[in-house]
């Protein structure tokens, strides 16, 4: 697990080591939908954008 900072509540979020760039997680503590992104080789979190009208299968 990697410990990252939640962009909404600033507390710690644990993300699996094999999380992919773009992967979405819900932060149980605050309910935020967060997205993993990679900057300078490091995993970081940002708030995920909402569902778009063309999302689906």
């Amino acid at each position: 697990m990697v410990k990252l900072i939640c962009p909404l509540c600033s507390s710690t979020v644990e993300i699996p080591d094999d999380a992919l760039d773009g992967e979405l997680f819900e932060h149980d503590a605050c309910g935020a939908q967060v997205e993993v992104y990679v900057e300078e080789g490091k995993k970081k979190l940002r708030l995920a954008e909402g569902i778009s009208e063309d999302w689906g299968e």
């Binding site: 992919l20 760039d21 773009g22 992967e23 979405l24 997205e35 992104y37 995920a48 569902i51 778009s52 009208e53 063309d54 999302w55 689906g56 299968e57």
Partner: protein, 286 residues
């Protein structure tokens, strides 16, 4: 595709990786294929570039899927699914039109391009009926109309949406399928199987995303034929087909060009990602 013994290079294009994408990635690697994960939200795609032997298109965004496939095809890469399939599946008016054309059963459907025509179309429906836009998924904006007041507010809400497509209506006969629909998955020319998606109490739509429970559905010849034909109509290599069952008939309702299969796996025990990986390997070797 060349038949050399070299490593097979597979590109998996995605935006937000789900369990499905992770499973496909893992199975491809299990068969010794080299997997390149391309996040289309941060990697530019150059027209004419050949990035791999085969590109699997797995974005959640329908338009990004169509564009990613089209760009890869411009470089001569074989895509699963191809851009035309994803486009045909992504817009329900295009899907239903193609399906109707080849003589498969669909729920009686009327397209209305705006509020006025939707009001006129509604007169030909015995209540209740289903109203939905041509794009979108997971049951968004799909409404079962049995009340004129609800219908009026749906018409008004949809008029206010900025997207042209979301202002278009498909009105459909409501097929009372005992609160369940059928989802089948096709890989290549094989129908892997089918499941019922049983809606949860208080919810008439049967999308897994809305909490439906998947249950095994036994295949029969009539069902199988409808599934194969529906996949063929859109030229799908890896698609799911959604059907409704009523009055002893199967009605094709949707075909999905970037299918989710978590619920299907749970209900059938079929390793869909493994089937996809085997299919990819056999296609590259052709």
């Amino acid at each position: 595709m060349n038949g050399s013994a070299d490593t097979v290079n597979v590109e998996l294009l995605y935006d937000y990786p789900r369990l499905e994408e992770k499973l496909i990635m893992e199975r491809l690697k299990r068969y010794d294929m080299r997997v390149m994960m391309t996040n289309v939200n941060n990697r530019p795609l150059q027209l004419g570039e050949k990035a791999s032997d085969i590109s699997l298109i797995r974005t959640i965004s329908m338009y990004k899927a169509i564009y990613a496939a089209a760009v890869r095809e411009s470089g001569g890469t074989y895509t699963v699914n191809n851009s035309e399939t994803i486009l045909l599946c992504g817009d329900k008016i295009l899907t239903l039109s193609r399906i109707k054309k080849v003589g498969l059963n669909i729920p009686r459907s009327v397209v209305a391009m705006g509020k006025e025509s939707a009001e006129a179309a509604q007169k030909s429906f015995k209540k209740p009926f289903v109203d939905k836009p041509p794009i979108g998924s997971w049951g968004r904006l799909v409404t079962l109309i049995s009340d004129p007041i609800v219908w009026r507010s749906i018409l008004e809400h949809r008029e206010m949406l900025s997207s042209q497509q979301l202002r278009v209506h498909i009105l459909q006969d409501y097929i009372e399928g005992e609160g369940r629909d059928i989802r089948a998955i096709v890989v290549g020319e094989n129908v892997l199987g089918a499941i019922y998606r049983v809606s949860t109490a208080g919810e008439w739509r049967s999308n897994i995303a809305l909490g439906s429970k998947p249950a095994y559905k036994k295949m029969d010849p009539e069902l199988k034929e409808a599934i194969i034909k529906a996949a063929e109509v859109v030229n799908g290599a890896f698609v799911s087909v959604d059907l409704l069952e009523g009055d002893g008939t199967y009605y094709v309702n949707e075909v999905n060009g970037v299918p989710e299969f978590k619920g299907f796996m749970e209900a059938t025990g079929i390793d869909v990602a493994d089937e996809v990986a085997k299919f990819v390997r056999s296609e590259v070797r052709k």
